[in-house]
Symmetry: C2
Subunit: 333 residues, 2 copies
C-alpha cells in the first residue's frame, strides 16, 4: 500500500508522452496529485502546481512517485540527487521502472537510515495463495480484449468513475504497474509466479458488500499467445459477473506478433464467456468498449453504431463518450 497523496516526479521528460504514468494519476486520481516536480529541461506538464520537495512536504504529500519513463534503463545521477533528497525530506518513493529502486544501493542505504519505503510496483510484495475458487460476495467486472493495449485499463477506470459519481460502491482493482501507481495498491500480475496468478486475483478482489463492484483491470488477451495465460488467470481468479469486450479496430495484427490477426468480437465473446462461466456460471457479457482514437468523430460514431447493431450490446468509446452506458448495462445484470 503506497501512502497518498503524491508529489509526481516528471524528471527531465523529453515529451508529454514520457510522463503518461503521471498523467494517468492526475486524470484518474486528481486528489492524489498534489503537485509536480520537474527538473531542468522537462518537456512534460500536468498543469498542476509545480512544487519543491519542501513545499510538497508542507502541503502533505507522502510519496514521490516516479511518473515518467527513464532512458537507457538506468536511473541517472541527476535523478538520484532528487530521489535521495526526497527520502531525506521524509518521502517514500514509488516506481514502476524496470530497473528497481531496491537495486540501487545508495537509495536503499538512505531509505533505511531515514526509515522510508521504496515501492517497486513491478515486483510482488505479497506471498499470494493458490486460488481456491470459492465463491466470493460482491460483484466483479473484467474487461477482456481482442488484443493487448486496446483500452482495458481505461475502460475499467472510466466505469469506476461513473459508478462513484452515481454514489454507487465501486473499486478499481489494479493488475499492472500504471494501475497500481494510480490507485496506490494492486497486483503486478505479469510478475507473479505461474502457480499463484489466479490466487493473486482472488486476493486482490476479496469478499465485498453484495452491491459493491470491483472493476478489475484486464491484462493481455486470450488471443495473444505471449500473454494469454495471464489473461486466463484473470478470467478464473476474478470470477467476473460481467465482461466488457475491448477492441481497437485499426490494428493490422496482434501487438508484437506480425502474422497473427486480431480475432473478431464474436470470437472473443464466444471464447471468453464459456471460460468465465467455469468460475461463475452467472457471468454475462454486458457491453463493448472500443478505442477509436485513430478515427475521426464521424468514422468513430458510425463504427460504434455498426458494432452495436451487429453484436446487440451497448458499444461505446469511453474516452469520447464516457462509460455511462456500460454502467447502465452493468447495473441491469
Amino acid at each position: 500500500m503506497i501512502e497518498t497523496p503524491y508529489l509526481l516526479f516528471l524528471g527531465d521528460a523529453p515529451d508529454q508522452l514520457a510522463a503518461k504514468v503521471a498523467q494517468g494519476i492526475k486524470d484518474w486520481r486528481p486528489q492524489y496529485a498534489l503537485g509536480q516536480f520537474r527538473m531542468e529541461g522537462c518537456k512534460a506538464d500536468l498543469k498542476i502546481a509545480d512544487m519543491s520537495l519542501a513545499q510538497a512536504k508542507e502541503a502533505g504529500a507522502k510519496t514521490l512517485v516516479i511518473g515518467v519513463a527513464n532512458r537507457g534503463g538506468v536511473i541517472s545521477q541527476a535523478w538520484k540527487k532528487v530521489l535521495v533528497a526526497a527520502l531525506e525530506e521524509g518521502f517514500d518513493l514509488a516506481s514502476g521502472l524496470h530497473n528497481l529502486l531496491r537495486d540501487e544501493p545508495d537509495l536503499v542505504a538512505v531509505a533505511e537510515s531515514c526509515g522510508r519505503k521504496l515501492h517497486d510496483v513491478r515486483v510482488p510484495s505479497v506471498k499470494y495463495p493458490i486460488a481456491n475458487g470459492l465463491k466470493r460476495s460482491g460483484k466483479r467486472c473484467l474487461a477482456v480484449g481482442t488484443d493487448c493495449s486496446v483500452g482495458k485499463m481505461y475502460t475499467s477506470l472510466a466505469m469506476d468513475k461513473v459508478m462513484k459519481a452515481r454514489g454507487l460502491k465501486s473499486s478499481f482493482r489494479a493488475t499492472g504497474q500504471t494501475g497500481i501507481l494510480i490507485t496506490g495498491d494492486g497486483v503486478p500480475l505479469d510478475a507473479v509466479v505461474a502457480d499463484f496468478m489466479a490466487g493473486s486475483i482472488e486476493y486482490l478482489t476479496p469478499d465485498t458488500d453484495d452491491d459493491h463492484w470491483d472493476m478489475i483491470e484486464g491484462q493481455g488477451s486470450l488471443f495473444h499467445v505471449s500473454y494469454s495465460g495471464v489473461t486466463m488467470a484473470l478470467v478464473h481468479g476474478g470470477q467476473p459477473d460481467a465482461l466488457v469486450l475491448s477492441h481497437e479496430p485499426t490494428r493490422p495484427h496482434m501487438r508484437g506478433l506480425p502474422g497473427y490477426e486480431l480475432p473478431s468480437l464474436e470470437a472473443l465473446r464466444d471464447t471468453a464467456l464459456p471460460l468465465a462461466r467455469v468460475a461463475n456460471p452467472a457471468c454475462e457479457v454486458i457491453g463493448i468498449s472500443v478505442n477509436t482514437a485513430a478515427m475521426s468523430e464521424d468514422e468513430a460514431l458510425s463504427y460504434l453504431e455498426g458494432v452495436e447493431k451487429r453484436m446487440g450490446l451497448p458499444t461505446v468509446d469511453p474516452f469520447r463518450q464516457g462509460a455511462d452506458r456500460l454502467c447502465d448495462a452493468l447495473l441491469a445484470v
Copy 2:
C-alpha cells in the same frame, strides 16, 4: 541439464508410494537408473541393484537423485549425512523437494568446496524469453486434461516410448518436477513468472526436424480455476499440431475444488481446440487417454469403447493398453 546416469536415493521411504519419483525414473528411463540407495528402515524397493555411494561411482553414476518425498518439509540429519557424503564422493545432487537444496547452508558449502552441482528442479534455472509466436519446424503433441492429475504426463511418456520403439524421432519435454528428474531437463512451468510462461515453452520445444515429435508434458487444466493460466501458456507456447484429451472418469469434482464439476470431453475438445488453433491453425485432436486405474478390466474396456464411439476418436488407457493407437493417430495427422 542434470548429468546421467543416476543413483536413486530412496532414503527411509515409509512405503512404495513415497518413492514414486524414483519409480518414474526407473519405469521410463531404466538406462538412467543405475542403482538405488536405501537407508535403514526403507520400505520402498525399485527392484534394481542396491549400491553404496562408492559402488555407484565406480559403475559410472553422475548424480544422486532424491527420488522420495520427505516428511515434515525438512531434510533430516540422517539424509544430510548421505547427501554430504555423496557430494564428497563426486556426485551432483538433484531434487524436486519443496525445501530446496540451495537453502541448506551445509550442502551449499560442501558442494562448493567439492565443485559439485545442486539441482533444485522446482526452480527455473534459465532466464526465459517472452514468447514470440513464430512458427517452429517439427511437430508437437500436447495432452490437455479435464482436470489436473488425470494422466497427462504418463500419456506423453507412453507415446514417446512407442515412437522410439518404432524408430521414430520423439522427445518427451518435461514441464514439471517429476518429468524433469525423469529426463534430466525441462521447464518447471508452475514456478515461472507469468510474463515468461509461454516463452519458456517455446524455449523448451525449439525448431526440430520436420519428422520429429515433441511430446509436451501437460499441466493443470483449462477448466481448473487455480491453474488454468499455466495450461493456457502450454496451449499457446507449445503451438501443438496434435492434442490428446486426458480424463479420469471416477473423480467426484475438480481436484482440490469441491463444487466444481469436471467438464465433459466434448467441452474440453470444444474449448481447447479453438484456443490451440490461435497458435497453430492446423492443430487437431487426435485421441483420448483415460486413466481407468479405479475400474475393473471389464468396466474399463466397456467405458473406453463407449467414449470412443461417442467421440469418434481412438480412446485408450495407455497404462492398460499402451499408447500405440494414439501414436497411429498422431502419425496420420
